[in-house]
């Protein structure tokens, strides 16, 4: 990301900030969607992230950390969305999964359902590290830097999140092996 663009945005140049939004918006939205599993809430989280970023941008000392800083703002916005979601029973507020079926149908419908259910049981903190690691491909150190966590905390969250997801995957595999629906 061009330092000049960041400098201009820091000084209140809305055009420069818009360019930044266009450069990173898709990435932030992709991450938010995968943490929240809901398009509308992901949009809210991204919007909230950009508005806070605009307000706080002049306080960012190291321009090179802009993207990591944005991820931190985004993950915090996602936590807030999850807190709100958890106050209501999903059965009362119906949330469409909005998962398009891929051409190769690599993941069965049952497996998707299992993964979806397992993922929704994770805490926001566990979801975030799982998505940053397995979707964005960030290392533990990079996640720690982005979220302000120690490497041990990142490892621990990732470990427990993967344990739960693994259990879901294995349960699905057992269902298929025993002749259940696939």
């Amino acid at each position: 990301m061009a330092d000049d663009l960041i400098d201009r945005a820091k000084r209140g140049d809305k055009e420069a900030f818009t360019t930044l939004v266009l450069q990173v918006g898709d990435r932030l939205y992709s991450v938010a969607y995968r943490i929240l599993r809901d398009a509308s809430r992901a949009e809210d989280a991204v919007q909230q992230t950009f508005l806070i970023a605009w307000r706080e941008l002049p306080t960012l000392r190291d321009d090179g950390r802009l993207e990591a800083w944005l991820y931190r703002l985004l993950v915090n916005a996602c936590y807030a969305e999850i807190r709100h979601t958890k106050r209501w029973q999903p059965g009362l507020r119906v949330v469409p999964l909005e998962i398009p079926v891929t051409d190769d149908a690599q993941l069965s419908v049952d497996r998707r359902d299992e993964l979806e259910r397992a993922f929704r049981r994770l805490s926001g903190e566990q979801r975030a590290v799982l998505v940053l690691h397995h979707y964005l491909g960030l290392s533990g150190a990079e996640i720690g830097e982005a979220l302000g966590l120690t490497p041990g905390t990142v490892r621990s969250r990732l470990h427990y999140a993967k344990q739960l997801m693994r259990a879901a995957i294995e349960a699905d595999a057992r269902t298929i092996a025993s002749g259940g629906s696939a």
Binding site: Y29, Q47, Q48, T59, L92, E98, L115, R121, Y135
Partner: protein, 256 residues
Amino acid sequence: MNRQLDVDRVLEDWLAEGPSRLPDRVVRQTIDQLDDIQQRKPRWLPGSERMQRLILPAAGLAAVLAVVVVTYASRNGGFSVGGPSGTPFTSARHGYTVVLPAGQWTFAERPGTWGQGEFFDANSGSGVDYYERLDPSNGTPLYVYLASQPIPTGMTFDAWAATHDAANQREMACFQPQGQFETVHVGGEPARVGVQRCDQFDYAGAWVTVQTLVAHGGRGYAIYVWPVYRGTAMPAESQLKSEALDWLSRFSFKGP
């Protein structure tokens, strides 16, 4: 291929699915709101923050923050900033004042109005005032939300409460009718206050909330006090009720 690699691959395949493009509409809405937000000054400029503290008296700063909160919240329907305990918050649209209990509270004012017979919730309810205290050091992390609406001429409080019960029953089968609740006074008015218990909330099992209905000046008010889910056990009903009653005791109505 070992199991560990297989799990990683399944996770990666699954996470790869889903949308990956931020809708243009969201970009436009975001950019449109920038004019309403003042950028902060860099903290490392010599004395800038200190000077602000010296120059702006606390009351003035609180007033500025309040304007920002209300303006922002009314536009965004969800933005919130901190409010210290003891701060009296007055809602012109609902006609009440509440002096917030101990702890750091955030506030959001959802735009719109709450219509009769409409179900409302903390997040998407039109006309909802929303308060939240996340720090557990001053008691149970709580969120409180409320809304009010005119009670039609000729309609009794009981009949109005029944319309609210019906709306709740449509969405929250676990909620009991208010008629069974005890009567206490809120803001000098008799109010129905009771604990609702839902045993099968996803993620956290049993859940309790304190629900209050009260009327003043021809308006009916519904107030809900909930514990915030922090991955730990829910507070005991008696504790939540005690904290809810404390919150309600700080609530007063404006005007006759």
